[in-house]
């Protein structure tokens, strides 16, 4: 499968956050990512959507090498990213870069834009003239050259994020992870940053792993979308299909909760599933399907058995018991009135 630039296989990341008991000390773990698999096709924008605690950022951090996975593997062009226990080789670091959510934190306030852009150049392109390269990078992202002597604090939020994008592209990567790249920005600035990203993707044939909580944004940038809830993927589909024909009850709830600005959008939302209940703490993930505490269609089996991914259409998979049922049962359940909604503990 050479078409896959990145292949995530049953990835798990459990954090030990403390211990319980005095004698038999049991570790308390957060299952931030709990067995997810997906593939990225070269040149596509794969959207990973989820609310807080869904583990979407953890996936990004593992891919870029900030964490070691607890279990599972990630292959970049059939090369195991975690094969070398001493750390990731530079050649792989060059290929996979990340843009973080908050440019205020990801750009060192004590370093000038020039210094910031020079670092990846010094490591990965030591032969090239750095001043020329810095100027080329600034030009590439439409920033005036005299910005190189500015410090991040004198830039607007959007400009900072654009610098962070330029830095990520300085190593000439093929996969860029975008971890909520515009959620710290105003809408009027967001468009500029997103369109810049789309242009750069085309120019340099980049693959994007786009992580966000903003489904409206996702609709407009992603080619495929996966949705995460408490460390697991609930549903994956082509973007258009995902929004027109959402299958998983959680996807439907999310879509119907989005505040929108026009009547057409209102009409495009799935039938209102009223959002209820709290998102359970990732320390204490409910048994069975983790969404059953909030699901209007929750059945008995959902409380006991964790569902598996089933194909519901071409390239469309969902992880829900509703789709594991034989046909006749399925319709029955769907027509049934939503049962009493269980209160969160």
């Amino acid at each position: 499968m050479t078409d896959h630039i990145l292949s995530v296989r049953d990835l798990k990341k459990h954090f030990v956050i403390g211990h319980e008991g005095t004698v038999n000390r049991k570790p308390i773990t957060v299952k931030a990512v709990d067995g997810i698999s997906f593939n990225l096709h070269a040149g596509e924008t794969f959207g990973l959507v989820g609310e807080s605690g869904s583990g979407k950022s953890t996936v990004a951090y593992i891919t870029v090498g900030m964490y070691q996975p607890t279990e599972g593997a990630i292959y970049f062009r059939d090369q195991d990213l975690f094969a070398d226990s001493k750390g990731r080789p530079l050649a792989l670091k060059k290929e996979i870069q990340i843009v973080f959510q908050d440019p205020g934190s990801s750009l060192n306030p004590r370093r000038s834009i020039k210094q910031i852009l020079e670092l990846p150049l010094r490591i990965h392109q030591p032969d090239k003239d750095r001043l020329t390269e810095v100027l080329r990078l600034l030009e590439m992202v439409d920033l005036p050259p005299d910005y190189m002597h500015k410090y991040p604090q004198s830039l607007s939020g959007g400009e900072k994020q654009i610098v962070a994008i330029a830095r990520a592209l300085a190593t000439d990567p093929s996969l860029v992870i975008l971890d909520e790249p515009t959620s710290a920005l105003d809408v009027s600035v967001q468009g500029k940053v997103i369109n810049l990203l789309i242009r750069l993707q085309r120019e340099f044939n980049l693959t994007f792993l786009f992580i966000t909580h903003d489904l409206s944004l996702m609709r407009n940038v992603a080619s495929r979308v996966a949705i995460m809830y408490l460390g697991k993927i609930c549903e994956v589909a082509e973007a258009a299909e995902f929004f027109q024909n959402p299958q998983h009850p959680y996807t439907q709830m999310l879509l119907s909760s989005i505040p929108v600005v026009s009547e057409e959008e209102e009409a495009a939302k799935p039938e209102k599933i009223i959002s209820t209940g709290e998102i359970p703490s990732p320390v204490n993930i409910p048994q069975g399907c983790s969404f059953h505490t909030r699901c209007p269609y929750a059945m008995d089996i959902c409380k006991r058995v964790d569902p598996v991914m089933v194909e519901t259409g071409a390239g469309h998979v969902a992880r829900c018991h509703l789709f594991e049922q034989p046909e006749e049962n399925l319709t029955q359940v769907l027509e049934a009135e939503p049962g009493p909604i269980p209160q969160s503990p």
């Binding site: 990801s106 750009l107 002597h149 500015k150």
Partner: protein, 309 residues
Amino acid sequence: MAQQVNVEGFASTMTRQQVRELQRKNRRENLGRAWYKFSRNPLSTIGGTTVVVVVLLAIFAPFVAPYPEHAKPFTDFANASRPPSWEYPFGTDEIGRDILSRVIFGFRFSLSMGIVVLVIVVPVGVLLGLIAGYYQGTWIDTTVMRITDIFLAVPPLILALAIASVLEPNLFHSMIAITLMWWPWYTRLVYGLASAQRNEFYVASAETTGAGTPHILFREILPNMVSPIFTKISLDMGWVIIIGSMLSFVGLGVQPPRPGLGTMVASGAKYLPDQWWIAIFPALGIVVVVLGFNLLGDGLRDLFAAEEA
């Protein structure tokens, strides 16, 4: 708008000379802003001025002091124990030395003590704290920080007394004592700062790009801690001077006849209250230096706090 700038043209016309000029202009602007904030607090301005004056006095002591030879072994019993007058503004001591001159020379000892101690203590403490903070949660962290704790548990004055009783009581040995007890405070401070900075995403970004550890420690993290470190240095100058004077007072510091401020207070204390000036003016000298550094330190802290906001 960005598009309006002709990037091609700009890049070619922007010489390295212009690049440097821009850099300088930015720096000047930052300095101006810092000075504006600093100068809005009258207390820190007073502190800063005091420190500058004291430092200048100490440097040019031989030229400023009315009787520079009085700082050396000297006696003039004809003028012994004179109260303050035009001739001797701070009076003279029991063997006729001008107290003003001796206080000015005393600043030299106090300041050089502070500088010597901090010059040793700051790099050591900062380096250890930086490493421990960056490797937070590993065995490196545990080892460094527990050693730090051990040193913090030793009472400084007792350590100084112990060193003095084993070796000879003098300025050099008491400086060793102060140095030994002082570095852990910097390690602590920097450890806390570094372990916070380490979670900033610019560190993750440097790591995932493949930057080396020295680069991350000294080029990325350290520059972000300069402000609190300098604030602490300023406040600590006052403290070191006080402790140095205390050691001098109990006879473990500057040895007579050299004019340590603490030493002078100690010898003058015998003549209180009648010949008060012998002890009081050196004591005031200590107060002025210490207060100056403390106010400056507070000013710097406010300045840096405002910078963050």
